[in-house]
Structures are given as structure tokens and as C-alpha cells.
């Protein structure tokens, strides 16, 4: 099989031929069994590659990865802060504001139920939080395990305040737009929007209350940022809907 179409088969499989060339090749395929077979096999190769699950490494490197993370986080912490007194606990938060927002996008995939469960669990006042600083962990406690930690952290509260301030103006503008244009929306749509806004507001309120009780709970600040972002997106969608009906 060495006809002049051979070199074009792969591009055909990828859908890269223009309409004219694709049509001509498809006519050719009806009469050339070799090319038709090759196309089928090329598709199998592509399918294999797309579905390929990989080959595990000869040696599992997770322990080395976890150790490497701990070492790097530890050395970074040491260079950032002077040594503490013996026995003094420090807490380092891994989030910057952009990171919080990034985490928020992924967290938006959580169902509202899951968020509610999380809030109730935190709100129950367990007094425990997720440790985010690997340098603080004794060797036998893996990263991410819950761990008693003392003291409040104004940093988290400050971040949340900053996030709320960032969103406040945009949210106020969009709420105003929605109020002015709500008569342009049908009642069912408006009801869904209002119910969602109410749910988000409740989640923000609950998380804020819980955060006051446990200022070290990083996840609560994430929840607030997630929900503020969801509210902003919902209001933007609603405003766009109003505009489209105008």
C-alpha cells in the first residue's frame, strides 16, 4: 500500500483534511481495501493511546515524594521565619489569595449537600483542623491528618475580609441590575435564581460564623471564597439573562 493517499491517512484520522481532500479520500477508501484497513488500524492506535493507563514505576516513589515535600516546605519555612522558641507552635498557611480562588473553582464542584455536611461537622466545634504545614508534623502523622492546634490566626480572617471586599462591589452592582430587571424574567427563572442566591448567602453566613469559632480552619475561608465566587457567577448569568430579555 504505497499509493499517494498513504501519507494523508493519519491527517484524515485526525480530521485535518479540508472538505475537498476528505471527500476525495473517502471515495478512494471505498475502492482501496489496503487504505481502508490502514485507516481502521490507525484509529485503533489512536484509541489505544487515548485510553492508555500507563505502567506503574518499578519502585513506588510515594514515600520519597512525601518526604521531599516535607523537606522543601520545611526549608522554605525556615528561610521565611526566624527560629521559634523551643516548644512554640507556629502555623503557616499555604494559601495566597489567588490560590484560594483557584481552590475555589475546583471546590465549586462539591455538591451543596457536601458543603452543608462539612459546615455542620466543623460547626460542631471539634477543635481539630487540617494541618497544612508539613514541617509541623511529627513523622508518624501523614500530611493532611487532623491535628490539635492552638490559637487564632488573624491571617485567615484578613484574607476572607479581603475576598469579601473584592467581591462586594461587583456583587452589589449585579444585585442592583437584577432588581431593576427582574420583571423581565419569568417567575420560575427568578425563583430559581433567588433560591440559589439564598442558599449561597446561607453558606457564606454559616462559614463566617464557624470561622469566628475556629479561625485556624483554612477550609472555612475556602468555602467563603468559593461561595462568593459562585454568587458572583450566578449574578453575572442572571444579569446577562436580563440583558438578553431587554
Amino acid at each position: 500500500m504505497t499509493d499517494h493517499w498513504t501519507e494523508r491517512l493519519s491527517a484524515y484520522v485526525d480530521g485535518e483534511l479540508d472538505r475537498e481532500e476528505r471527500g476525495a479520500l473517502e471515495v478512494h477508501l471505498t475502492s482501496c481495501e489496503a487504505c481502508a484497513t490502514a485507516v481502521a488500524q490507525l484509529r485503533q492506535v489512536v484509541g489505544w493511546a487515548h485510553g492508555y493507563e500507563g505502567k506503574p514505576p518499578k519502585v513506588d516513589v510515594w514515600d520519597a515524594v512525601a518526604r521531599g515535600i516535607r523537606e522543601r516546605e520545611g526549608s522554605r519555612e525556615e528561610s521565611r521565619h526566624p527560629p521559634k522558641r523551643s516548644g512554640e507552635r507556629v502555623r503557616r498557611f499555604v494559601f495566597t489569595v489567588p490560590q484560594l480562588l483557584a481552590a475555589g473553582i475546583a471546590l465549586a464542584l462539591f455538591s451543596g449537600t457536601a458543603v452543608g455536611v462539612a459546615l455542620r461537622a466543623v460547626g460542631a466545634g471539634s477543635g481539630r483542623t487540617v494541618v497544612t504545614d508539613p514541617a509541623l508534623l511529627p513523622d508518624e502523622i501523614p500530611l493532611g491528618e487532623s491535628f490539635d492546634i492552638d490559637g487564632n490566626d488573624p491571617w485567615t480572617v484578613a484574607v476572607v475580609t479581603q475576598l469579601e471586599e473584592q467581591y462586594a462591589e461587583a456583587i452589589a452592582d449585579l444585585e442592583s441590575l437584577l432588581r431593576e430587571g427582574q420583571d423581565k424574567l419569568d417567575s420560575a427563572t427568578l425563583r430559581v435564581i433567588e433560591e440559589n442566591l439564598r442558599t449561597i448567602d446561607e453558606a457564606v453566613e454559616q462559614a463566617t460564623v464557624a470561622l469566628r469559632r475556629d479561625p485556624a480552619a483554612v477550609y472555612l475561608s475556602e468555602l467563603i471564597s468559593v461561595n462568593l465566587r459562585r454568587k458572583l457567577e450566578l449574578l453575572r448569568d442572571a444579569a446577562a439573562l436580563v440583558a438578553s430579555e431587554t
Partner: protein, 185 residues
Amino acid sequence: MSALASKVGRSSDPLESEAADVALAAAGDGTAFERLYRRHVARINSLAEWMLGTPDTEDVLQDIFIRAWEKLGTFRGQSAFGTWLHRLAVNVLLRRRETDRVRARRYIAHEETLEQAEAPATGPQLWADIETAVERLPQRSRDVFVLHDVVGYKHDEIAEHLGITAGTSRSQLHHARMTLRKHFE
């Protein structure tokens, strides 16, 4: 399981579950990050073996996953986490290849000998044989095939990464596939 994961439970939807693990890991949950590692390490390992031409990938795998941990905050969720991770891995691997020139002797011996990749596979060994056939492709064809068909890069991206033209990328991909297709005869 971490405190947060145990509170929210695990989703039965793999994508949602992965997104939750990404968020947990970004918040410092090592257990969630380990789940991400377990889910992706085999594919990343194959990528490393193919691109470095050696089965000795322990060191670079550590580098990739530590870097992924450090960069999780930059993941915006605009693509699947796996896609993001593969692209991060490709960057690490290309840099590693540039500086270290890691080339195992047995892979070098296979270079430029397309015929050796053409041995037809039979029976249950089919997939393993194709893996081997990919290893035996000439490096440039292997790079293009892996980046295009496994990782999902476009030809212009491959051209930029490998310092070739998009046309060369297309041509190399075609020849790699035409070699590998013999395993499906």
C-alpha cells in the same frame, strides 16, 4: 483519609472526586495528594520512560510530583487535572532531557531502527507489545506520538516544545502510527 475528606465523603463520580482531591491537596491535604499520585503515577511513569528513553524514572517522578504539589495553586480547573499534570510533567521531562541527556544504552541501540518496532503482537501481550513498540520508535517519532496521542498536544505546541516545524510533527506522527498499526493487524 484526611479530616476534610472524611467529613465530606467521597463522590462516586471520578471527575468530581478528583476535583475534590485537587482542592483538598491544594489546601495541604497530603492524603488527597497521595490519591492523585496513585491515580496518575502509572501514566506519568510511562510518559517519563518514553521521553527519557529509560526505565529508571524514580528520580524524575519525584521531581514531577513534588513540583505538582508546589504548583497546585496555579491549577485553575480550566482543563482536567490529568491534562494539567501531564503538561507539567512534559515540561519537567524536556528540561531534564536537555540538562541530563539521560539515554539508556539499550534504548540508544534501538534508535533509528523502525523495523524492530514492527514485530506483530498477538494475544494478551498486545498492549505490552505496543508499549515496547513505542519505546522502540526513533526518539523524534516517539516524542511526537506521545505528546500528540497520549498527552494531547497540538502540532504547533509540539513544534514549539521540540524545536521542529508543525509539518515535521505531522509527518513523524504519521510514521509512528503507521509503524504501531502493525500490532493491530
